[in-house]
């Protein structure tokens, strides 16, 4: 039971930090958003040139380093990989395309609800529907196969790259891009964002906080553990927003959002389905990456590529609404998810469960 109290406390702190980050400069209802912030980093590195969303977000750096240090300290750091890496890249890409159709990762979806943005309620309906479809395939034996142990060195590469990002953020060489206006220009001070990230990364590592896991485990196992964290974020961020006068109930004129219900639904359905196949939401992928899971690193690289393409090919929505290219990409995304889901059903899973695999001890 203390485990559950832990994740509720962690969720409450994440919700609170998200509200504070907005108060100190982050875009509204975007105290924390893994998809948006990875997108901003892709822009900051010049992988896309949408000048309103370019910044090397310290929150992402903090989350990775916080999770890395915690995992390392708790002896849970271990380099692993080899579980369908290319498929994970593709899934990461698709999850990002869906998130940028909706304008937010599952974490920001919760924060948008906490700000009174009713479009996010449609998003969560889509998200749950997508998770439901993914669960059907999980129950039929969907698997991206096993991971294997790797040399420890490989696990250190991702945290090292993230430290490189921190250097770029502070040194600001001429080849990085920081938005002069738009959401990319709205950010809290580096030290504050970095510290918030460190705390969130550490807490998320300990509790395994995951938005997609919350709904998945509730449906699959009637397990309330992960979703308690999700609900705690919602509740504290909502209270925080009300106190700060930032709670604004409605569909219209919500910050960094659009009101096209159908595509908000489809965008999050795509993200939800893709995330279930991956085994975790974008936040969870970052945490696993920091713990030495190379498959999750590949997923994060897929998300980064997805974000860059989403802006270069005009797939990402804006406050004006979705784009025709984005709608096409989401439909293609569903088709690809169906193929990946179907062709990775493991026939042997059924046999194994019948008890054919026995240890001759």
């Amino acid at each position: 039971m203390s485990e559950k109290k832990g994740i509720i406390a962690a969720g409450a702190i994440v919700g609170l930090l998200a509200v504070l980050l907005v108060k100190f400069g982050n875009p509204a209802n975007m105290g924390m958003c893994i998809a948006c912030f990875i997108r901003d980093i892709a822009g900051g590195l010049g992988l896309h040139r949408t000048d309103a969303v370019q910044y090397i977000r310290p929150e992402i750096i903090g989350i990775v380093l916080g999770a890395f240090l915690t995992a390392f300290g708790m002896k849970e750091f271990s380099a692993k990989g080899g579980s369908s890496p290319l498929l994970r890249f593709v899934l990461g890409f698709i999850v990002m395309v869906g998130a940028l159709m909706f304008l937010g990762c599952p974490l920001r979806m919760v924060l948008r609800m906490a700000g009174g943005d009713l479009n996010a309620l449609i998003g969560i309906a889509g998200f749950a529907a997508g998770i439901g479809v993914g669960i059907v395939f999980l129950n039929k034996g969907f698997s991206l196969k096993r991971t294997y142990n790797l040399a420890k060195f490989e696990g250190f590469v991702f945290p090292a790259v993230v430290i490189g990002l921190l250097v770029l953020l502070i040194a600001k060489p001429a080849f990085v891009f920081f938005s002069a206006k738009g959401p990319g220009a709205a950010h809290a001070a580096i030290l504050l964002s970095l510290s918030a990230g460190l705390i969130i990364g550490s807490l998320a590592q300990r509790t395994r906080l995951c938005m997609v896991g919350g709904i998945r485990d509730l449906i699959l196992f009637k397990d309330w553990y992960l979703i308690s964290g999700f609900l705690a974020i919602l509740l504290t961020a909502m209270i925080g927003n009300i106190i700060m006068g930032k709670f604004n109930l409605g569909f219209a004129d919500q910050p960094v959002a659009h009101a096209d219900g159908l595509w908000n639904f489809f965008g999050m359905a795509l993200s939800g389905w893709g995330s279930v196949l991956l085994g975790g939401c974008p936040l969870r992928q970052l945490i696993l990456s920091a713990e030495g899971n190379i498959d999750s690193v590949i997923t994060v690289i897929g998300m980064t590529a997805g974000a860059a393409f989403a802006h270069n090919f005009s797939l990402a929505s804006s406050a004006k609404g979705p784009t025709p290219n984005g709608q096409t990409a989401v439909i293609i995304g569903f088709a690809v998810l169906l193929l990946i889901s179907y062709f990775n059903l493991e026939k042997t899973a059924e046999i194994k469960m019948k008890g054919d695999v026995k240890l001759e001890a």
Binding site: R216, L220, F221, G279, G355, K358
Partner: protein, 73 residues
């Protein structure tokens, strides 16, 4: 050891929620009990929580860097 006859599931290297899913299906088919081998604390905790939630008895043994869990209805 009576546990020698129990069905064994190797869930090492599988990502969430597959280990728990295999355990759930395994215990439904083998109510006399199953053994499951996992290689990370997340999967171990998830299976222990599943056992608690579904009223199974669970016993955890560490085997090197892996965990062997024995579940019984």
């Amino acid at each position: 050891m009576s546990s020698l006859k129990l069905k064994e599931i190797d869930a090492r290297g599988l990502s969430c929620p597959q280990p728990v899913l295999l355990v759930k299906k395994g215990i439904e088919k083998n109510p006399e009990g199953i053994q499951v081998l996992v290689d990370n604390t997340t999967a171990r905790n998830n299976i222990v929580r599943f056992a608690d939630n579904s009223g199974c008895k669970v016993e955890v043994n560490t085997q090197g860097s892996d965990f062997l869990l024995t579940l019984q209805k």
